[in-house]
Point group: C2
Chain length 339, copies 2
């Protein structure tokens, strides 16, 4: 059970521990020959750096934090997060950087978690998701000067990095596609109105509807859950002049909408076209399979990790724009009924 340390390596190699440290870290100060011998010994006895010791003397914690502020049930059903995490991991684990995960109720708790992690020197940086237009986490992160990257639109007034995709273009493409199918009454079931990207998408939707001269844009806000998605759908479909096509802000709500339409005796896509704002296996699970906006979430996570690692290494904050979501056409969209 005795821990293998550089002292043992130094003894076996007949050099000082300083030399061992230099050799192991690839820094100048030892001859190539010595370095090789030291590396061999380290390998042979299965040495691994103690992160505690390394963190204490160097100043890196070798960890980054991700705080998810959502109810566990919502997190569970939306496939987004696990895939995103998995993408982050792919980049981080290669560099022996741990991902610390915390699931909390709200932003207040998130701020608390961030403060503690930082004070304890557990993390070198932070990944921030689910940005709010007014986000209490940002001033705290700025004040503590924590390297951080937003999974979302850049905030030029901050020192934070950002990895984002062009939601406006994706919404535009969706509306254009539906209009080309002859739809004139298109509605949007949006997610949480406080969220940054929800707002961007709503704005894009409004602009697209107006641009096509389709009258007053019809948007219902929800909390992203199946319940509210279903309820919003029921409300929209009960109106006179009900929409012939609805855009949903995620996959879960679109699936719920399909159920509601079927219960109301409306055929999809015959009488109603449904378009999901996120793609996942869920969309393929149901009938008709759902037309959806797809993007590579794992790649998104991976890029986010890269931008964060650069920041931690002291490079200037970057904004990386990933690929715009593509429209994957399946069975839930078709020509407008009266078209």
């Amino acid at each position: 059970m005795k821990r293998v340390t550089i002292v043992e390596i130094a003894e076996r190699a007949g050099v000082s521990i300083g030399a061992v440290s230099y050799a192991l870290n690839g820094r100048p100060g030892v001859s190539e020959e010595t370095r090789r011998r030291i590396m061999e010994i380290a390998d042979e006895i299965g040495w691994r750096p103690s992160l505690a010791a390394r963190s204490l003397s160097g100043s890196r914690a070798h960890g980054v934090g991700l705080v998810l502020a959502r109810p566990a049930d919502t997190l569970g059903v939306e496939p987004f997060f696990m895939r995103f995490i998995s993408g982050l991991e792919r980049e981080l684990s290669g560099q022996r950087i741990a991902l610390l995960l915390q699931v909390v109720e709200d932003h207040r708790a998130a701020v608390e978690a961030i403060r503690l992690w930082w004070a304890e020197r557990r993390i070198d940086g932070l990944v921030v998701t689910d940005m709010y237009a007014q986000d209490v986490r940002i001033p705290v992160i700025e004040e503590l000067r924590i390297p951080a990257v937003l999974a979302g639109r850049p905030r030029p007034d901050t020192r934070l990095g950002a990895v984002w995709t062009d939601d406006t273009a994706a919404v535009d493409a969706s509306v254009d596609y539906l209009v080309a199918l002859g739809h004139r009454r298109i509605a949007r079931v949006a997610g949480l109105p406080g969220l940054d990207h929800t707002r961007v998408r709503i704005a894009a939707f409004r602009a697209a509807v107006l641009r096509h001269g389709l009258g007053e844009p019809d948007v219902v806000e929800t909390d992203y859950t199946a319940e509210e998605g279903g309820r919003a759908t029921r409300a929209l479909l009960s109106r006179r002049g009900r929409p012939t096509a609805i855009l949903y802000d995620n996959d879960v709500m679109a699936v719920a909408a399909l159920t509601v339409a079927q219960e109301m005796g409306l055929s999809v896509p015959g009488e109603l076209s449904i378009l999901a704002g996120d793609d996942s296996q869920l969309c393929v699970l149901v009938r008709p399979a759902l037309t959806a906006l797809s993007r590579d979430i794992q790649a998104y996570g991976l890029q986010t990790a890269r931008v964060l690692l650069d920041l931690i290494d002291g490079r200037a904050p970057r904004s990386y724009q990933g690929n715009t979501a593509r429209l994957t056409v399946r069975g839930s969209t078709a020509a407008a009924p009266d078209g």
Copy 2:
């Protein structure tokens, strides 16, 4: 940016750093008065222990690891993991223990991750999910003497703790329920055959079918994905003497089955009863809503964390049995067509 350390507290309080350490950790060696004064100062200047320092001198890393060895896509769609993680978190974060998460492809990679974490002294213990009957992780964990708890059935031949629920009883209840509805041809679409709990459930299913005198038990093995679940369903429903009821090993496959049945023109539950082995929002999303085995996954995660923390504290390995899954009856099960 200067870090607040116990040195500063000691100076302000006019005592040694040793006294500060004792006071802050609630150990004897300082008077109550001194202790209170020290705590106040610490609070006032916002001191937080450096985990690196604490880990280096004490021998705790204050972290536990969870390695998920599954393809990211599967992980994403099954709501189980996020809820489980969220339950783990609830217990861990209260004790300032970090959850380190790693998502890998297979058990070989999982073993590698475990070895590294342990060698680097990043973790004090491990949560192990998705146990295989023959599981390469176990001998490694035993050899390294890592405190670990299985989210699954106890292994009496090991020093590992375990948190589990009685799958046999849950399967029994499901079969009994279907038999009471008059079903005589009941099949099971199982998950990955290598998994421990898959085997237990298959065995329980076989035993129940035989006990009820329903003839040769009909089991199809899959990989838990919607694709294979759908394919298995199609195969089962294409046979002469097709089943009138099918038990699925998770929620995702049951939803896929619903789609397949509808495509084949079979009414659910009129001609086919579907029972999902896991419950989640997915089951409520579809029509008919799926009858399912429900359990409190968050509580399961929380209990798992507790058993692990006990182990880490040096207590003897415990096996904790959680509540057996309850049958939540919804619209996908009904009396057998010929009953």
